[in-house]
Symmetry: C2
Subunit: 212 residues, 2 copies
């Protein structure tokens, strides 16, 4: 049975994205310094060989346990679910061969035909409840796992549905001060997790929790 | 020169204390389930031999690296600083021999004579700025370190002063959903930290950061 998992980078103060990182400021990374902050959050991943290759950044990059972890994350995933805001950013930011290589279910009120990208990524626009997107993702994943990609509000919805089996957090020692918090709007009874594994690297602490 | 440090337990969603844990509900730990949540947050510490002894909980308890860490934290500390709300809770909750054994500077608008407890703890009530409490603590600490004990608002004030050298967080895999957040009201430029050490235990991840 497919596992449902979240795998994100998080600032030490709990933000998935810095304040100012919105569509209208997409071309102004200097706005509220969001580009620098985002770079500090994601730098560890962009330094990994596997992701560099996936994103077409060229050769080089680290090849240790973090790289292996990234590879396993991509390989285990049979479908993605994301919110409209994340999709909108990605539509502008991802390379033509979008880095998913699976069906991606986008939760949105917008009606739109599936958008097929080279390399196996097809975006489906789901105008129904998150439960329905999860159903579709389960069918498509065919036994592989389902990644709730983000943003924060979509992850919160699935946490509140009790649907998240695994929570993987790359905790980065930066403080954003403001932005989009991962943990907000959680409803009682809140989901319960226990520590599964910690990968301790000099720049980032990789925390893996599983449903308790 | 004394280091200024913070050493706290934090829920995975970033809270130092659950919602409902206030003075008026001090005798009602069932209110919003705050007692159970607080227990889940602090249980790891109360299981350690060193703290059990300090708090008069009797013999027994773990004696491994976490216990050693707790002992070092207490032994390095020459003065504490805390907020009035934390003091108020402690005034009711601590044993007569309060578990500090140093001067404790309480930031408050209340005027009150120093309160001497058996065992070397004296509470001084500081009606001035946090900078002044830190000066007094430095003098009293006599080269040992200064612990900013809490609550969250006091820690935030010292983070915003750029005065915190070390940030030690026991990250506990519980989600509170609401309560008093550690990281809030941070001002630009936000303090910068880097990972110093991670102690990975089955129930708690002990994260130590130092000023970058």
């Amino acid at each position: 049975m497919s596992k449902v998992f979240v795998n994100i980078s998080l600032s030490l103060d709990g933000y998935m994205a810095p304040e100012g990182m919105t569509m209208e400021n997409w071309d102004r990374p200097e706005y509220m310094d969001w580009g620098v902050k985002w770079g500090a959050l994601m730098g560890w991943a962009l330094n990994q060989q596997y992701l560099r290759e996936k994103l077409g950044f060229g050769p080089g990059g680290e090849t240790g346990p973090v790289n292996d972890m990234l590879r396993r994350t991509f390989e285990r995933t049979g479908a993605h679910i994301m919110g409209k805001r994340m999709f909108d950013g990605g539509e502008r930011g991802w390379p033509e061969e979008a880095p998913f290589h699976t069906p991606v279910y986008v939760l949105t009120h917008q009606q739109r035909e599936p958008w097929v990208r080279p390399g196996g990524t097809t975006f489906y626009f789901v105008n129904e409840e998150p439960e329905r997107a999860l159903e579709l993702a389960r069918q498509a994943a065919n036994g592989r796992d389902i990644r709730i990609s983000g943003g924060a509000d979509v992850i919160q919805q699935y946490l509140n549905l009790g649907a998240v089996d695994e929570l993987e957090i790359a905790l980065v020692p930066v403080l954003f001060g403001a932005g989009r918090r991962l943990f907000e709007h959680l409803q009682e009874p809140v989901a319960r997790f226990q520590i599964d594994k910690v990968l301790d690297t000099p720049g980032v602490t990789h925390l893996r929790y599983v449903r308790a």
